[in-house]
């Protein structure tokens, strides 16, 4: 099953909004007049060019989806990085750079479109979806959750986000809105350093038991999307296998390099 997605190509992007996302990250809203749209979960390449023609290219996940020409990114500053500190600290509204995309046809999810017949539970219909993110790995999963909400898709979807502290959560207000708006979408957090006031759960490195307690059980055969650092993805994916999930139903995206 290969999802239909728009063809990729080079486009000029202009920054139309730039706002702090977390203490180390920034949200950029781009206007890309020639953008062909993108599916939820896809990424793009950003290419920035210095006055002497030197270029640097990096891949970033897209937090938005659909046919529009507004593209939302959220970029975490990698200490010692070459491109991310520029995008987080230097770029201003009105600046332009090039983007190549949309990219990736595997780590994507398509909602049931409005008007599309919803198969009954006994049919071989859409599978429940479990999303699991470590830190900035939530970005492509925000696109998936938002697409689910915008389509009023009744498919059960849950998102587990592991963050260091409440301030490190990307798109937390948007995700809370989605959770309030749809009974089919549920949002869970895990905190590794410090939890919000009133939190009664575990605080510390994510454990297999925590994952087991909140994710859609293997018996319900969910599609699972895991995104984060290589270490996070390796740990979580191996726990999911131990908990009985089908390896073929687990899609992963790992952040790496600078």
């Amino acid at each position: 099953m290969i999802a239909a997605v728009p063809r990729s190509g080079w486009h000029v992007a202009a920054v139309v909004e730039a706002s702090p996302e977390t203490p180390s990250a920034r949200r950029l809203v781009l206007d890309v007049p020639t953008w062909p749209g993108n599916a939820a979960g896809q990424h793009l390449d950003v290419r920035v060019t210095a006055p002497d023609g030197y270029t640097a290219t990096r891949s970033y996940s897209i937090a938005s989806s659909g046919p529009g020409t507004r593209v939302v990114l959220a970029i975490d500053r990698l200490p010692g990085g070459e491109v991310s500190p520029f995008l987080v600290d230097e770029v201003r509204v009105g600046d332009e750079f090039e983007v190549h995309g949309p990219l990736g046809r595997f780590f994507v999810w398509h909602p049931i479109e409005p008007g599309e017949r919803v198969p009954d539970a006994s049919a071989d219909g859409p599978r429940p979806v479990q999303l699991i993110a470590g830190g900035s790995g939530v970005v492509p999963l925000v696109a998936i959750a938002a697409a689910h909400g915008a389509a009023a898709d009744p498919t059960p979807m849950r998102l587990l986000v592991s963050v260091r502290t409440p301030e490190d959560a990307f798109f937390d207000a948007d995700l809370a809105d989605l959770a309030r708006a749809s009974e089919a979408f549920r949002l869970d957090y895990a905190y590794t350093r410090r939890a919000p006031d009133g939190w009664t759960g575990h605080v510390g490195r994510l454990t297999r038991d925590e994952v087991d307690a909140v994710v859609i059980p293997a018996a319900d055969a969910p599609l699972v999307y895991v995104c984060g650092s290589t270490g996070f993805v390796e740990r979580v994916a191996s726990w999911l296998i131990e908990l009985g999930h089908d390896a073929r139903a687990i899609r992963t995206e790992r952040f790496g390099g600078t």
Partner: protein, 197 residues
Amino acid sequence: MSFVTRGFTGRGRDRDDRLPPGQTLARDFPVLSAGPTPEVDTDEWEFTIRTESGVEHTWDWQGLLDAGVEEVETDIHCVTHWSKLGTAWRGVPLDALFEEVETDAGYVMAHSYGGYTTNLPLEEVLDGQAWIAIDYDGEPLDPEHGGPARLLVPHLYFWKSAKWVRGLVLMEDDQPGFWEQYGYHNHGDPWREERYW
């Protein structure tokens, strides 16, 4: 259509001419995988070459080692824009395994434990261009980097160097593998930036 991005100066001026266009040197070893890392024990590991007429040639772990392990020093290039220069591997050249294989096929599909596939022209995995790699940097290859054994085809983007490789199926006609179906280029030459289709 490149143009200057206001405020960007960049740092990588001392560009190495071993670095293909659009690539950046990586100090660590990033991981690109579509799913969980399979666990494969060398006691159960097998590697099979199946020809277009259905003849199968199979090696177990010791049989692979007996085919002749050699040192390989090479640059590697990932489609996600990182490269590593002068990486040190040990592996068995595919030429050694193909010595006893009779074929007129033009292409191979590499198959992996876990279900991953990738397609390659046969002539690009012979003549000292490809290995079954078992060690990286003096250590047995980590599972997350494809251990116990991965394909090593360093002149193409690294998704062609299938991790957890378990066999090659010879094909008379080319067919896209896993990432090739999901948007990566059919061939994948980093010097031509054959990244996506």
